[in-house]
């Protein structure tokens, strides 16, 4: 495929030039010209008042060595563990994977590295038909090298059509290597996965441009179709304690690696569970006014079993550690409930949290942009509202 400007139709009006997110449309000899920075995002196609911008040719990946797509069947998920315990996202991937496998009338498999049989059986109960397990203690800690080798081998010998992993620090680090090794398409950070009607193609929806734009990505001509999936977006699979499945042992081949993990240091902050795993986040901004405001938010988050988050302003002031920063230069989160306290809502913050299920904002300024994306807005002083709220929650608790 190619996007080009038909010079016979182009009037040189320059309307398209600013429509390109990649600055790839330039004016040349009075005509628009699309240069090599074009990412084929199609943003310009409908913008031209003359219809001079045209899409030509076939799709991507039409490489000469074509892949026999029918040799690939089944859905494989990479089940993540930390310190031997399955991460939430593993169960969510089984939920998403089961739905896709049913739609494709195929099987759901899981790959588990560095955990033991108990965890593998747990994956079966959460919906896996078969689990490929490497229980070698050398892969208990995350290490890109053996993880890439093992997952690539599992994929190569089983030829799944779809491979899913969590868009976590682990998944986002080594899945790109697996995709390169297998020459497979990989889409990062998906928030929705569907099967295209009439084909077996996976339609992968992901945010781009800091969440201001959503894009649907497809990989029509190569297999497997690989995607990392945002934690807390997909529904967990159904747990059935009587479910039976097969567990296949996968031995580790090489035993020495160029990189090694010396130690793991857990989050030292007392802000609650990890931000990206949190179901409830109580976040503070400059409006907190200081470290005391942070203590207040911590109290609120503890009362409702949440985690404390922060805007960049609060982190830059040194009130809250960087590990808790939400936004473009911090973490992207999508909890069930996000309570924004004294956060005005700069775009850089909004892109990190706007996909939360429910957003509640408390801010003194009725015109704060945070209210535009909130389900509920309270115009008020957080130093008045939050202590009152904590007291009311405690009363509610003691009544039970």
């Amino acid at each position: 495929m190619n996007i080009r400007v038909d010079k016979d139709v182009c009037t040189g009006c320059e309307t398209c030039v600013t429509s390109c997110p990649y600055d790839s449309i330039i004016m040349e000899d009075g005509f628009a010209f699309i240069n090599e920075y074009c990412q084929l995002c199609r943003a310009c196609l409908s913008i031209c008042p003359e219809g001079a911008i045209k899409e030509e040719g076939s799709g991507a990946g039409t490489s000469s060595e074509s892949v026999d797509l029918d040799r690939y069947r089944g859905v494989l998920i990479f089940a993540e563990q930390r310190k031997g315990t399955l991460s939430h996202v593993s169960m969510e991937l089984l939920g998403a994977g089961r739905r896709l496998a049913n739609k494709l009338n195929t099987t759901l498999h899981a790959a588990l590295l560095g955990a033991d049989n108990n965890e593998a059986e747990e994956l079966v109960r959460w919906g896996a038909d078969k689990v490929f397990l490497c229980n070698d203690s050398l892969v208990r800690d995350f290490n890109d090298e053996p993880y890439t080798d093992l997952l690539s081998r599992i994929i190569d010998s089983n030829k799944p059509e779809i491979v899913l992993a969590g868009a976590t620090a682990i998944g986002r680090s080594f899945l790109p290597r697996v995709a390169v090794r297998l020459r497979a398409g990989l889409t990062a950070d998906c928030t929705s996965l569907e099967i295209e009607e009439g084909t077996r193609n996976l339609m992968q929806v992901r945010p781009a441009f800091g969440g201001n734009i959503m894009a649907t990505i497809v990989c029509p001509d190569r297999r497997p179709q690989m995607a990392t999936v945002r934690p807390r977006v997909m529904k967990k699979g159904e747990y059935d304690k009587n479910r039976k499945g097969e567990i296949v042992d996968i031995p580790l081949q090489a035993k020495t690696f160029k990189t090694s993990v010396i130690e793991n240091i857990g989050d030292v902050s007392e802000c609650g569970p990890g931000l990206q795993e949190a179901e409830i986040i109580v976040a503070g901004g400059r409006g907190m006014g200081g470290p005391k405001g942070y203590a207040m938010l911590k109290e609120l988050s503890e009362a409702i079993n949440g985690t404390v988050g922060a805007s960049r302003a609060a982190v830059d002031e040194g009130w809250i550690p960087y590990s808790q920063q939400v936004g473009q230069t911090g973490k992207t989160v999508c909890p069930k409930i996000y309570i924004a306290c004294g956060i005005s809502g700069a775009v850089q913050h909004l892109v990190g949290m706007q996909s939360s299920d429910m957003i509640i904002a408390i801010n003194k300024n009725p015109d704060a942009p945070i209210f535009n994306i909130s389900n509920y807005g309270i115009v008020g002083d957080i130093h008045e509202i939050v202590p009152l709220l904590i007291r009311r929650i405690e009363e509610e608790r003691s009544r039970k």
């Binding site: 600013t18 429509s19 390109c20 997110p21 240069n35 090599e36 920075y37 074009c38 990412q39 943003a43 409908s46 991507a60 990946g61 039409t62 060595e65 995350f142 890109d144 976590t168 682990i170 080594f174 790109p176 290597r177 995709a179 390169v180 020459r183 497979a184 398409g185 990989l186 990062a188 339609m203 781009a208 441009f209 800091g210 201001n212 734009i213 959503m214 894009a215 649907t216 990505i217 990989c219 090694s260 010396i262 130690e263 030292v268 795993e277 473009q328 230069t329 850089q348 996909s355 509640i360 389900n375 509920y376 807005g377 309270i378 008020g380 008045e384 509202i385 009311r392 929650i393 509610e396």
Partner: protein, 260 residues
């Protein structure tokens, strides 16, 4: 030591919007910047240069006008600047981009490759680890602290979702950098003068000879099918009244959400 820093010129995404009626991007007057994470990668390279006298090369793949990003990097202190530009690279996804950059890096030579953790336009974080795989060298993603670095090995902190890992690796090596590692320096006056005269070395596909099917659109397994605006919150409500009433309503909402 030869350090290569991969940078990308990106639109300042905080200003990119989509028109929900026409499904087209609105980016009038959106400035192009060096991807913010890449500045942290460049700063890491320049600090190593300050300490050991390493040679720092910056490399970008993009259109001819991306040379302004390279000049800015030279002004900050980079020694050599390479612009990888060719119509053959057009439409590259992360697989094809990683392959193209890796092929160029192999030609430039390297001991250490540094990248930002991700670019803020695509947010994929896939190109860095992809380059390492193409070059058959190890990588460490999300580096937040460098403990030691020598010609033979490094010891760094790798940010994880539940804390951080202390990781050691031999070189050659690729690392992707998070913003916690450092604060990027500003270009010096001397640097700016140097940047003005600096030669940007152009690399086209005739220099690196990647096969047609291994770069650009033909080399890209994935393609963008369409783009659209994210759903907006439709059920926006304002909670009115004096603070005790507002809090009562809020408690009701939290109760209905099973928070309390």
């Amino acid at each position: 030591m030869n350090i290569t820093v991969c940078i990308k010129q990106v639109p300042d995404t905080s200003e990119v919007r989509i028109n929900p009626e026409t499904n087209t991007l609105i980016r009038d007057g959106v400035p192009s910047i060096i991807n913010p994470y890449d500045l942290h990668a460049l700063e890491a390279a320049l600090s190593i240069k300050d300490a050991t006298g390493a040679n720092v090369s910056v490399l970008t793949m993009g259109p001819p006008q991306a040379d302004s990003a390279l000049k800015e990097a030279v002004a900050m202190g980079a020694d050599d600047a390479y612009l990888l530009t060719d119509r053959a690279f057009a439409g590259s996804d992360t697989w094809a981009t990683a392959n193209t950059l890796a092929t160029a890096i192999r030609k430039i030579g390297f001991d250490l490759i540094l990248c930002g953790k991700q670019a803020i336009d695509g947010d994929t974080a896939q190109v860095g680890p992809g380059i390492a795989e193409f070059l058959s060298i190890p990588h460490i993603a999300y580096v937040s602290k460098i403990d030691t670095i020598t010609e033979e090995c490094v010891r760094v902190h790798r940010l994880m979702d539940d804390g951080y890992d202390v990781v050691e690796s031999s070189t050659p090596l690729l690392m992707t950098i998070v913003k916690e590692l450092n604060s990027p320096r500003l270009p010096s006056l001397k640097g700016k003068i140097r940047a003005k005269k600096a030669e940007i070395k152009k690399i086209s596909n005739s220099d690196i000879e990647i096969k047609e099917n291994d770069t650009g659109l033909p080399g890209s397994p994935t393609q963008v099918k369409n783009i659209f605006a994210p759903e907006s919150k439709k059920d926006r409500k304002t909670i009115e009244g004096p603070p005790p009433d507002q809090v009562s309503q809020l408690v009701d909402i939290l109760r209905s959400l099973k928070c309390i």
